[in-house]
Symmetry: C2
Subunit: 338 residues, 2 copies
Amino acid sequence: MTATLKDIARLAGVSTATVSKIVNGKDHDIGEKTIEKVKSIIQEQDYRPNSLARSMKTKVTKTIGLIIPDVRNPFFTDLARGAEDSANERGYSLLFCNSDDDLKKEMEYINTLTEKQVDGIALAGSVKRNREIEEKFQVRVPIVTLDRDAYFKGIKGRVLIDNFNGAYDAVKYLIGLGHRRILFLSGRLDIRVSEERLAGYRKALEDSGIGFDGDLVAEGNFNFNFGYDYIMSGSLDGTVTAIFCGNDLIALGAVKALKKLKKKVPEDISIIGFDDIYLASINTPELTTVRQPSYDLGYIAVGRLIDILEGIEHKQNMVEIKLELVVRESTGSLDVTV
Amino acid sequence: MTATLKDIARLAGVSTATVSKIVNGKDHDIGEKTIEKVKSIIQEQDYRPNSLARSMKTKVTKTIGLIIPDVRNPFFTDLARGAEDSANERGYSLLFCNSDDDLKKEMEYINTLTEKQVDGIALAGSVKRNREIEEKFQVRVPIVTLDRDAYFKGIKGRVLIDNFNGAYDAVKYLIGLGHRRILFLSGRLDIRVSEERLAGYRKALEDSGIGFDGDLVAEGNFNFNFGYDYIMSGSLDGTVTAIFCGNDLIALGAVKALKKLKKKVPEDISIIGFDDIYLASINTPELTTVRQPSYDLGYIAVGRLIDILEGIEHKQNMVEIKLELVVRESTGSLDVTV
DNA sequence: TTGTACGCGTTATCAG
DNA sequence: CTGATAACGCGTACAA
């Protein structure tokens, strides 16, 4: 049987109150000798406090939940690591949940986490939301959302990514290289992230006097196959000289298909991705892409959440993270290639 | 204030015992009407049991810890997902810890997890172990180790990967293609995993009457740069026609460097990786590799752990997972290329 | 069929 | 400086 506070108290011939104070470093009003004695018994018995009991009293578990769609999505693996580092540094543990982009599963996790009395939740929500259901759903735990939206009550903060400007910069860059016919291979367009990127794409075109052409936008999924299949299916308009992709996976798929069709990147077609996942710099050619600071996103969001839990004030409950264009090998000037 | 068991009891005009039974489905000896009434009040008050209090009584938290070196290592991201799925399916939550291959951090996590009263721990240990320190370290929680060894007390099960045969099969395959001079670009050789792969490599060579040549083994780290730098530095023996790599990252690095040097894969040199990470099949050429079922590893290990916790018996406390060679584009017959 | 009362391991308040 | 003692929210003998 493992020793409890009470055991230590008995063994030391003092009260549990005294031991508790010593364990928690509130021993300023305790005698030297008592402290000595109790500490040695704690050592000897290898006493470990029971967090459960402590949490029952203090109402604080020093545990937070992290809900993401799927760690295997490279964007979320970095995010998860950032979240864990942030939590760990501040003395919190992280309960790890994969929702598979399923709102139902997400809500079940929120329930479990609530029952386990987490202090807060960092939520990268499923893409498809349902305002009505969510607003009805009782959430008693502070939530900070990451990147994606949610309509739950109890959302105390949001950490967003400036997708609009990220896309804008990428497309502007392409235009600066001389490209005029720029295809946008987007992920699902019914989610905010895609909408924002589309808006950035459009604005960049319009600001440059090129004008928006709806035929140059194709919608698909955020995966390798979409990029690959789109190109292989021959849907590619012959006038297109550059492709802006909804993420790196799509871009990688497109590059691969282009290679198969003996088209050269960037000589024949320039490609730009989004995310800067690990593969992006390993691929040949190395991918030009809009870098998402996903580690930072996780780190910052959990940091924010803990700030809220600990009553640290911020002027804004929303923080927006800027994106950075990383120029590598998959983009080239049009003039040179003509 | 959120409603407690006691509140429900008061509101329903019954005792807490009654409510408790109903909440836990042990209502076989409770009157129909009482059940109805209590349930409706539970609904109305949106009552949620407090897991902490429950766990204090039952001594069970339905929570387990997962300790891995780093989720960002592709091998562990899949493993983590498998572990979480397994836990979730069986009603457990997962506390997520990244040890950065640091034994000290690993032990701190074990302590925290113990204080939080996890029911068990799934541990993919740091590579460098210290038998003396570990054996002295008191662990009160059941542990199942994944792939890597550990000397802690309290290890109740092991899930291993059959690295020896994985390597053996890969090298045999290369030999079957006509290769005789096969370089092994290994990760750190002071860990069991590498030792086993080296042993498999050696055995395959010897079984084929080729004999082992120590000059054809190079030690480095398990990352992209090792493969890349090794090739770029000109260390490659001109007689080598195939390379067996300690993991896919090394292989990808080698492929990239070879391309840069205008060598063709597989025409000039065949390459085989280890792991089958996502990039392996996206890369051009697609990588031939030994597939590690890392998702399964996590899934099985956590399943085993829970079996142990719930008293489900197994004949063996150790399970070994077989590996499978996935042949793709980075390997070719020597005859054809000559 | 239902209720009483105690214990789980802590922390915190308030006397002494 | 130190010690009783009452919570915290729940489960479970045992009693009624």
